[in-house]
Symmetry: C2
Subunit: 314 residues, 2 copies
């Protein structure tokens, strides 16, 4: 079964008791910098601090009772790991989170505090290790993005944006593997067909720009980026067709502008956001997305995993 | 004429075309730290970055056409000066802002960018200089807090809180001269009589604790505080009776807890707030305000005037 507007609506009803229905914020202070009427979807205020909780919750609630009894497994040192651990706790399900030895201790502590079992391994082995645990226990893997239930969960944020601003002109969404933009673009094109949907990815890792040009998921060379939550080297094959159909254009944003966009959202927008979320504002500052003064534009602020020290260094 | 629920409602209609109707945010991530259901009124997202714009706009819109033609004058190096300059620009009125020589150049630049004339003087002389300019030009002074139209403007935020959470149990408001809490407590007691209203002031400058004990505005000794927007030495005499009638209790918060509260709102609440706004969370962390697990409590986040460098130093 595919992901559709209907499966996103079903996801919304399913996860409603657990998530924060985040508002759409009007960030007037950003208008003069970005040249349009600026709104933000502040998923930094979502439970566990990012939109990842929507998809993880929808996926877990879509599993059978049998599967839930055998537990769930996820590999992620970032927002996805936190989201899965917290969702499992809320639902009384056993979770195992596979974390690389390089994961920060504070993340390990948080995930353990929420009752998940933590298994450490080498960074490159983490998906293998997760699969092995799932095979041994009969538990279900909760993947970070390449899954229709995950995408439908993330898409619920799109339904909320459409409800809150029916005359929206455009939304800019940070992109890595494609789970968030896959769901949100599907929801928006069904509810606000005239609104443009733009993706923003690091210019250092232009997998979507490359893949859409090639007509299929195409991997790019590994490079460093300050947008440390947007590091997939290849689009998810489950996400690719939805993104190809529903996204109007992609911007490949330079590191300098990712940081400028982040700084703008924090210092003028007054929202704590990670560089991976500031990339949308960066795309506009770099002139990669066309806007006019009367456009109502929504920045998707996907998460706030950034330390006070990092903020100081901006 | 006094300030009443009715004059606050009139203020609301008057300023509605100009202000941001800020939402009430649910900050679930703070529940475990503060021991209750935490909400925030994010006036850091208000036009000019603080609630001050509400009162300034209401005051200016209450002046006669004659007065407006002669211009307006305000003395403030902080949020109030920015609010008056911006409101004047929106209304096409000439504004003169009196700033001490110690004011940061970035604030001077911002205020000038908005078209206001800036007059520099010694810090201690600023109110005298403003009065002299008003006398010479026939212009009207827009005071920072000790005025019923200013209070009524700030009170509009209270009407919004009551609308957004009709079963609110308590609100905690940062306090300096009393303009904000005077208006908001009046609005809340009229709309949600069961909700408790708490004021939070720096323990270093306990003018409200002292004044309420004395039964009249009483000044305290000048001392430094990290809450640099809460430095009035004496309550406003126009504010005092409203606060005495409508506020349930005051908390005098230690410097250490002002900083802890600020850090909590930024790092876990994901809102950029100045120490003068973090004081409410600090009051609860210090155990000065009684809360229970099922209480719905609103932190009034009054402004976000804080640099990235200051955030890094938290």
């Amino acid at each position: 079964m595919g992901m559709t507007h209907v499966t996103i609506q079903e996801a919304r009803a399913r996860i409603a008791p657990y998530i924060t229905r985040t508002p759409l914020l009007r960030l007037r202070a950003l208008d003069e910098y970005l040249g349009c009427e600026v709104y933000a979807k502040p998923e930094c205020l979502q439970v566990t601090g990012s939109f990842k909780y929507r998809g993880a919750m929808n996926k877990i609630l879509s599993l059978s009772d049998d599967q839930l009894q055998r537990g769930i497994v996820a590999a992620s040192s970032g927002n996805h790991g936190k989201a899965v651990a917290y969702a499992a706790r809320m639902l009384g399900v056993k979770a195992t989170i596979v974390l690389p030895h390089t994961a920060a201790q504070v993340k390990v502590d948080t995930i353990q505090k929420w009752g998940a079992e933590v298994v450490r391994c080498e960074l490159a082995e983490r998906f293998e290790v997760a699969q092995r645990i799932a095979d041994e226990t009969g538990g279900a893997i909760v993947p970070p993005f390449n899954d229709k239930a995950i995408m439908a969960g993330q898409g619920t944020a799109g339904l909320e944006i459409a409800e809150d601003c029916p005359d929206l002109d455009a939304v800019v969404i940070p992109v890595s593997g494609g789970g968030l933009i896959g769901g949100v673009s599907c929801a928006l094109k069904a509810t606000l067909p005239k609104a443009k949907v733009y993706g923003a990815e690091p210019a250092a890792l232009p997998r979507w720009t490359a893949s859409l040009a090639a007509g299929q998921p195409t991997s790019v060379e590994k490079k460093a980026t300050v947008a440390d939550a947007l590091v997939s080297l290849i689009p998810g094959d489950a996400c690719f067709p939805y993104v190809a159909q529903n996204v109007d254009a992609f911007a490949a944003v330079d590191e300098e502008f990712i940081l400028k966009g982040t700084k703008l959202i924090v210092s003028e927008g007054k929202l704590v956001c990670e560089p991976s979320s500031g990339i949308g504002a960066g795309a506009i500052l770099q002139g990669l997305i066309p806007v006019s003064e009367t456009d109502k534009l929504c920045l998707f602020v996907s998460g706030g995993s950034v330390s006070l020290e990092q903020l100081g260094n901006l």
